[in-house]
Amino acid sequence: MRKDYNLEKRKYVIGGFIIVIVAIYVLRLFNLQVLDSRYKDDADSNAFLRKAIYPSRGVIYDRNGKVVVYNRQAYDIMMIPRDVQEFDTVDFCRTLNISPERLKQRITDMKDRRLNPGYSSYSPQILLTHLNDEDYGRIQEKLYRFPGLYIQKRILREYNYHCAANVLGNIREVSPTDIEKDPYYSRGDYTGDLGVEKSYEKYLRGEKGMEILIRDARGQIQGRYENGAHDKKAISGRNLKLSIDIELQQYAEQLMQNKIGAVVAIEPETGEILALVTAPSYDPALLVGRDRGKNYSELRNNPRKPLLDRSIQGAYPPGSTFKPSQGLILLQEGIITLGTSYPCYRGYINSGLKVGCHPHGSPIALKPAIQTSCNAFFCWGLKAMLDRRSKYGSTAEAFEIWKNYLVKLGYGYRLGIDIPSESRGFIPNAKFYNKIYGEDHWSANSIISVAIGQGEILATPLQIANLGATIANRGWYRTPHVVKEIEDTVLKSEYTTKHIPPISIAHFESVAEGMRMAVTGGTCRLANLKDIEVCGKTGTAQNPHGRDHSVFLGFAPYHNPKIAVCVYVENAGFGATYGVPIGSLIIEKYLNGDIADDRKHIEQRMLEANTIIYSGVKKH
């Protein structure tokens, strides 16, 4: 039979057909395997289960090595939605003592991408948090019945001393914004909130580890990826040693119970804060665990504002505790000498203006003026400075000089304590008064009350205590801080460098002597301890909200001081009534370890006193 060459050509059609098909497939493979990287990620999330290993959080000690905050295990139930098969929800709910509605709600919330932007059915999601040991034990036995669920261990905080909530802070679950800001976190992680837990978060948290497990199509774990070669060990958080003396702190908090205010105690030599008390306070343990949300909103809605740290956030008129700083400035500027005396006829009286004072001898020099807390002396002093045009040119320029000294002494700006939300207080400048009165339309008399720590002046108890430390050191201070040591790390240099205001040591010595005189024979006599030479200054701060605040600033011993203290009790009246006794008790407790028998009655009275009742009460 003759070959049909026309038909033989059809081999090219058939051959061409398969060549075209293979070419299309090669292009498709190129697209799948080389161009598109999506499948590689999918393959990874298919096969690798990345399980976080949580490091233990750093333990917090007090300055004497007592454990203040440590860790407790808690258990979360995690769920990998893709691997979950139908299970007995009734059994599950009964084991954990929760209602089926709650479980349903949790799952709905979990899958809601608005509440949980990181949701993926391949990755572990949190189903329930904070199981206690009992629940954990019961569910652990049954876990095999619930494929797709597993237990994630987590760290919660436990407190040995239920105080110092403002210093310690607490931990909370990260919010979506936290995750956005710091990719280290993933949903369900904990982060520090308030206090050192927040400011030292990076040290305390350590570093999460990672375990890479191989998971087959049925969700069963087949082992570790390359025998754990790519796993990352968790690195434990660093321990902190606080400068706080936790027992002193506890004692100070007890003294401040039923009062509103703050106590700050500083070791002058180092700037280490020994006690940082705000009242009213709360138990830090309230903000850990399952009830955190409820407790937190209760604290936030409490009208006494326990969440406000009055020791660093409260901006108060310093009142007469401001006077030592005035003495220093006037001496340094040569406005007065130790021999300069000013008259006081029950106050400062000048061109129709009167700032009242209590009875004492007149005229009066600086040291006795500090001793008796004479208002007139410091008003005359400030007036003399602001009026000295021969030296400064104008009132405004003189005022700027005055203000700069105060800034150097730590007022008006944040001192830079190592816990968050410090307030800066307020020291006005010349511009401020120019705005109020008009340029050149104000004089010393317009603003005279700043000389005695009233008027526009605002300071935090921390700033007031810092002045005490500066005088105690006779001329310098270190930025107050609450953390003494970080494990394996040196403290930031800002907490170890000396700040030296441009005022000579001799002037500090004079002011210290005046403060010593106030204790031995002035307004602070209640602080005159037998075996400790205390120096002090009272304050009775007028304020627009009601009764005067009772303030005390002191340090001890007179020579080689070990502690500087500020006590601020809102609406409690004279400085001598609450400020001095509380301050002296704290000094005595810290230096002697105990309160002398003949002073027990003072201690008793302070513990029992309730000044909250005066809060909000208008002055008569």
């Binding site: 058939i14 060549i19 293979v22 598109d36 499948y39 590689k40 999918d42 298919n46 096969a47």
Partner: protein, 489 residues
Amino acid sequence: MESRSTNISIFQHIDWFTVLIYIVLVVAGVFSIYAASYDFDHANLLDAGEFSGKQIRWIGLAFALGIVLLLFDARVYETYAFPIYILLLIVMLITIFVAPDIKGSRSWLVFGPLRFQPAEFGKFATALALAKLFSGYNFKLNASPKNYYRALAIIFIPILLILAQRETGSALAYLALFFVLYREGMSGLVLLAALCAVSFFVIAVKFTDTIFMGIPLGEAMVFMFIMAIMVFMLLLYCKQIEAARNVAIWYLGSGLVVWILDLCNIHLNGTIYFISVIITACLYCSLLALKSKAKKLMITVGASVASVLFLFSVNYAFTSVLQPHQQQRIRVTLGIEEDLLGAGYNVNQSKIAIGSGGLSGKGFLNGTQTKLKYVPEQHTDFIYCTIGEEQGFIGATLVLVAFLTLILRVLHIAERQPSIFGRVYGYCVASYLIFHLAINIGMVIGLCPVIGIPLPFFSYGGSSLWSFTFLLFILLRIDASRREHPSYN
């Protein structure tokens, strides 16, 4: 006497190139099966308990069979073609009734630990029968419609038997034999029509979401295709330039009018518009045909009418004839639906496995997706995933190229046969290979619907391996003796 001497010299005339590709593919297959079924605990390629070990035994037996097949006289196959075919038909018929239900199909005969699938062996028997038919004295496919009936009967009897075994994939493989009919004289229009039918179907099913002129966009697109094909057929096939111009003007003009009306907010129903313009054009062509008695014009009209009818039946067929899971497979393949946990799971996981291989792959036994059994059927129908994941784009392409080389070689061998029997048989072998390669790999890389057919020489299983070994070695035997048996036609 003559045949004895050829037995001795047979190995000199074997096409060793084909044997080499065969060995390469089979060995690569064993390694792939080993990789696909590799467990973290096991690690022995030859372990008889493992798929790879079993497959090695199947390969050993396949080689032995191959040698035996080569020892027969080439004329044995031609002589016994029909008896072999009928024997296999009987076995397939019996299978329907005695086979146990395995994964929904009754296509496996079970003898103790051994199972085999008659549908696979039916392939070479059908090829022999078809070749025998064409080699009949003075047989010409186009000589009489009767010849078509006989050829189609040989193809469709096994198809029906296999469908009765509920093994759709294997049944479809026999449709590949239409390539053979084409080579032997069937009009190319049939293949073209099939191509049109498939594309019309895909378009009509795929674009159902958008509405155009009151009907799904897909339908409107098919109507426009039908109109365009009509114009081109008038122009190129009928050579009626004037008629083509008139019809084109009619279509475009009426379309313009509809568009303007649409802008004036008068909306015509698409179906009515398209049907009426197409029928008008058909009537015009029919009148022309009456005048000039042009058969080609009538074929053109017939093609248009048939296309329209086909379009109407597609919708009906898709929604009423196909089973829901088949509809879903088609929708998933066409990318209309994404169902990653249901019907799309296999394909998605297989794409993930292949896609994660990258340019050069993760390395032998390092594939995670296949090891962890994310891809179902990965040692059988989805074996190509393992190659894609572990050997990457380079390895996957090399496998494709090897298959392409084999197919082109088989086509070459087929064409060089002096006998029609040899040629037709050769084309049958090539057709089966083309179909299996195109459908299996197309399915694994997500371009074809999931039709469960194996990748020749790679997929685990004795039946498939033996079936293709039979096909190939019988061809080699026929080819080896082509010089000693000069054409007797």
